[in-house]
Amino acid sequence: MIRNGGTILFLNSIEQLLRRKIVLTAAIAAIAFLGLYWWGVSAASSAELHMGHGQADMAVDMLSPADAALAAIITAGPLAATLMTALIIVIGSTMLPEEIGQGRMPFWLSLPQTRLKVYLSIGLAPLAVSYVLSLILFGGIFIITMIYFPFTPKNIPLVFVSMLSWLTVVWAAVMLLSLVVKKIASMLIVFFLSAVATLFGGLYEMMQMFPGEAPKALETITYTIIYAFPADRGYRGVIYGLIPADAVITENLAFFGVTASIPSIHLIYAFLWSLVLLSIGYLKFRRMDF
């Protein structure tokens, strides 16, 4: 009985989340985003280059379908990532506080469940919803790109794992903060951390391409930030896994941070980091009086 209760609470939380306007808005935004992306990519695929005699053919020759696919993915990727980051921050920061604020938490805890099960069952729902929505969004980007610019993705399994790593870091941070500070504050802090991590994640990629070129202080700050809040590694893993394996202009796109590989240890570290934050959040939750 106790074993099944956690699953029921989890499904209940999912149902509750799916009925929230913010999730519905994010889903509509994701569909609208994919619609616009489809429109843009289809237009790009049928565009004619108006240049001088012979130059158009040369330009078309330079740009293979894989390169076009790469350009499309790295343009759409950050926007999609911003949307999903915002979603998980908003729903992750409100899930537990709302259950507490609405007086439902004492009710759930009065059922014969352990606190850990209640914490995880309710807390995991935002991660699950965001993960599924991210898969749909990035999966949509991948399929639409494939239709117009056929290519072989670099590493699809990496996309699944990296996406989970990226979202888990953001989720674990916002869950913990929502138990410590007010939900608006937790949202702003994690959004700021995500933005800073993405910025320095890009710098980190460039430093990998040009080792020893960056000032020592900047290098130290960059390394500190990407390890202190390792969401960016997962996000880049998603993009890295999706991009075409046979694109020829990847080196020129180092600015977008898609050329370097993501070592598995970075993803493992991100998961462990999340686990630590999740544990601290649980310790806080376990000691809370309701």
Partner: protein
């Protein structure tokens, strides 16, 4: 403390920062009784109830339900709790909520839930979203959800909140039925009239301490008022006033004041001697409200501050 007590609380203390919510609190509750927790706001009643459910951890002392420490989730099997201000999602219907709870509890069936809804006259609300119900309707639905099945211990925090007089009667009937089915019911309520009508025992808490507990009958004292049931109210009043008693006519008779409650026998003898026909004479007892005020007055006279 008897071994067969369903709830055993021993020397429990709890403070929230500088506020002492419970202090060296001990209580035992026997199975099948309807108990009330009474006290002013901030006395520690809700804290006590939450400690029983493990929602609030105690600083010291021991608390067991069914001989299990409340830290164990197993102690909450068969326990039902209705918090004072619970807000279920507005989109959810009673049927949806019951389905979820049924899966978690594996205890009650939809027929039992329907029966409870029938008892609380909310069976026609089964498919209506909670957001489209009045406060009283939501409270009746919540009570149906909480008490359906075969609960062994029911903790109700202000169960009659938001209910009209008809709804309160239904809740009283429900509580009596639960007790008749063997459940122990613990009620936290400020509606003393409701408590008086349904509870067996009362526990008075103030400033986080147990002031007094016992059966309602044993807690209320006889007052200095006597009620004489008679059809000859005017005649009876005149006779009593001639004797020096202060009295007035009430429905079905006369109410006379006694300077000393112990002088009731003398007055009864006087009434017999007058030869005026009467059908009954009773020394009136304190209402629960009187008991509450007396106990709290005595407590504050002893200089015990109430926790705010």
């Amino acid at each position: 403390m008897e071994k067969d007590n369903l709830i055993r609380v021993l020397n429990v203390s709890k403070s929230f920062r500088k506020v002492q919510a419970l202090s060296d609190f001990s209580l035992a509750v026997s199975p099948g009784t309807i108990c009330s927790l009474l006290g002013p706001n901030g006395a520690g009643k809700t804290t006590f109830m939450k400690i029983l459910l493990g929602l609030v951890g105690s600083d010291s002392g021991s608390v067991t339900i069914f001989d299990l420490p409340v830290s164990s989730p197993l102690s909450r099997r068969g326990v039902r709790y209705l918090p004072e201000n619970v807000t279920f999602p507005s989109w959810a219907t009673p049927a949806i909520l019951f389905r979820q709870l049924e899966r978690i509890r594996h205890e009650s069936s939809v027929e039992e839930f329907r029966l409870r809804c029938t008892e609380l006259e909310c069976v026609d609300l089964m498919k209506r979203p909670l957001g489209k119900m009045s406060r009283g309707q939501r409270q009746r639905v919540a009570l149906s959800l909480v008490t359906s099945g075969k609960p062994e211990l029911v903790l109700l925090d202000e169960p009659s909140t938001g209910l009209d007089p008809g709804g309160r009667i239904l809740v009283r009937n429900l509580i009596r039925k639960l007790a008749s089915e063997g459940a122990t019911v613990l009620i936290n309520s400020h509606l003393l009239g409701e408590v008086e009508r349904v509870c067996d025992t009362a526990t008075f808490i103030s400033g986080g301490r147990l002031i007094v507990e016992g059966k309602l009958d044993s807690l209320s004292r006889q007052t200095g008022l006597a009620h004489i049931e008679t059809d000859n109210a005017e005649e009876m009043k005149l006779s009593l006033e001639e004797r020096g008693y202060s009295c007035h006519i009430e429905s079905k008779g006369v109410v006379a004041e006694l300077e000393d409650p112990a002088a009731f026998r003398d007055m009864a003898q006087f009434i017999l001697d007058t030869g005026i026909r009467f059908s009954g004479i009773n020394q009136m007892r304190e209402s629960l409200e009187d008991v509450f005020l007396r106990i709290m007055d005595n407590d504050s006279e002893r200089g015990n501050d109430i926790v705010s």
